[in-house]
Amino acid sequence: MDIETVKNLANLSKISITDQEAESVAKDLAQVLSYVDQIKNAPIGDVGTEKSLLNNNFREDTDPIETGFYTDVLLAEAPNKQDNYFKVPKIL
């Protein structure tokens, strides 16, 4: 794990990071990765294809809500809004 890798991860995660922080993060992540590397040798055996109960149980999307019904609630905590829309900096 090197600084460039950490900076790339920070870019993907949309978190700005200084070189100094990246160095400290690289050290910590390397330690955690070396701990979790033990799973590579775990004797898993045959786990089969049996469906677990621990799955998302999707339901039918019935009785749709009328458009705009929750607009106020959804926008209530928006830091920046205009005319029932979230407002973001100009992109193009």
Partner: protein
């Protein structure tokens, strides 16, 4: 004023007029007033308590009361209570006000429970000591030089310091049971899919579970039964007709000996556990040595699944829809600045780790392998519960440690969850209860794990043990 021992006793006394809800609530508020400035269990005491008390009194007057009416409870700061702040211990949500109720909050509110306030926690539940919150550390009420455990450290401390009758926490890898053990209380992680997580801020969705923190097993049972309901708003909630019945009586208790004889376990923890096993034997239980060869991998599986899921879940803190926003004329810059400043050190590390684990080239080696291993561990527990009714282990390999002692060692801190994480990986229920006095005014604890939907077995054995613990 003497606070009754259990929810049921409290309820009876309110009903008979022997105890007023106002007096009950005031006695807790007085303790909070006296102790919170040094313990820092509560981030906020709610301002609408009077209104809640009046509503509960009215429910009694009109005969609409439930077992929870007038019962004071504290909420972990990652649960939504409409119109009240909820921040998950983070700066990025410092000014966030909930726009809806979590299902557990709805259930308890409709029943007339009194929410006293929101409790401190490791930021986004990432930690085992409540030292990573934006709102400062929480101290252990049993010994203020020690951490209360985490991540539900504030929740547990709010009860331990006498600041509530009940508390709700969330447990992704031990975040209810480990702090309950550190502070000498009962903490329970129910079966995955029983208690709804709708309105709980997600960390690792395939592991997160809400559960009770109480003074005794009877209250854990009462509170669990109250919030244990199928909820269509939680896609992982298991419909009641799919929940399998379990045996009614515990006879055989499995003990994975290798866990207790391994390295890194404090001697006093071993000694106390041996004593607990003798107590269980004297109560007539048959103790069976069991082997769980894959369980030692559970913590490593956890440190792959959890950051992977957390890095995805925390992408919602985008400076646009809610939460903190540091405006910029460039969108990418706005994301990066806000998330850099809004998230604490540990949260950023876990997001970066999760992003690495999920990135092309590593996904199969880490995430794919961890998922297969999780499935194998689930199978391991399913099979072992064919031969034993419950499993007993210590809750944590060590007792509450000094504040600051493990903050700079990423592995040492994580080892405190060694014995609690397997239940989350397997999706099974587990309860931690005190098992005797330890040095420095701390408490020892024992954990019982049961098969899926086997909460009744845990309550049964834990109650008997509780009555007989020295």
């Amino acid at each position: 004023m003497t606070i009754p021992n259990t929810i049921k006793e409290t309820h009876e006394k309110i009903k008979s007029g022997e105890l007023s809800i106002r007096a009950l609530v005031d006695s807790f508020l007085k303790n909070i007033e006296e102790k919170n400035s040094s313990i820092n269990a509560y981030i906020e005491v709610y301002s609408d308590i009077d209104e809640q008390v009046k509503n509960a009194e009215k429910m009694f007057e009109e005969g609409r009361e439930t077992i929870m009416t007038g019962i004071p409870i504290s909420l972990k700061d990652n649960m939504l209570f409409l119109g009240h702040k909820a921040s998950s211990g983070s700066k990025i949500l410092e000014n966030y006000t909930a726009t809806y109720n979590a299902t557990v909050v709805d259930l308890l509110k409709n029943a007339g429970a009194i929410f006293l306030g929101r409790t401190n926690m490791d930021e986004f539940a990432m930690g085992s000591s409540t030292e990573t919150s934006f709102y400062g550390i929480t101290k252990n009420p049993l010994n203020e030089e020690m951490v209360p455990g985490g991540s539900s450290g504030g929740a547990v401390a709010s009860l331990s310091m006498g600041g509530t009758l009940l508390s709700l926490g969330s447990d992704t890898g031990g975040s209810i049971r480990q702090p309950a053990a550190f502070c000498g209380l009962v903490g329970m992680k129910p079966t995955y899919g029983t208690v709804s997580r709708y309105g709980l801020m997600a960390m690792a969705s395939s592991l997160d579970q809400i559960g009770p923190i109480t003074k005794n097993v009877a209250d854990a049972e009462t509170l669990f039964n109250f919030i244990n309901k199928y909820d269509k708003n939680d896609a992982t909630s298991i419909p009641e007709n799919l929940r399998t019945e379990n045996k009614k009586e515990v006879k055989k208790i499995g003990v994975p000996k290798s866990w207790v004889t391994g390295e890194g376990i404090e001697d006093s923890v071993k000694e106390n556990f041996d004593k607990s096993i003798e107590t269980l034997k004297s109560l007539g239980y048959e103790i069976v040595d069991i082997d769980l060869p894959l369980s030692p991998y559970a913590l490593a599986v956890y440190y792959i699944l959890m950051p992977a899921e957390a890095s995805s879940n925390l992408s919602r803190y985008d400076s646009i829809r809610f939460g903190m926003s540091l405006p910029s004329n460039n969108l990418k810059n706005q994301y990066e600045k806000t998330r850099e400043s809004g998230f604490g050190k540990e949260v950023k590390r876990r997001i970066l780790l999760g992003t690495y684990i999920l990135s092309h080239g590593y996904y199969e080696a880490y995430y794919g392998k961890a998922l297969s291993l999780q499935k194998a561990i689930q199978k391991e527990y399913k099979n072992i519960f064919e031969t034993v009714d419950v499993i007993a282990t210590p809750t944590s390999p060590f007792l509450a440690f000094s504040i600051g002692a493990k903050t700079n060692d990423p592995i040492a801190m994580k080892l405190s969850d060694l014995f609690t994480v397997p239940a989350n990986i397997a999706g099974i229920p587990a309860i931690s209860i005190p098992s005797g006095d330890a040095n420095n005014n701390l408490k020892h604890s024992i954990q019982f794990m049961g098969p899926m939907f086997g909460e009744n077995l845990l309550f049964e054995v834990a109650k008997k043990f509780e009555e007989n613990v020295q």
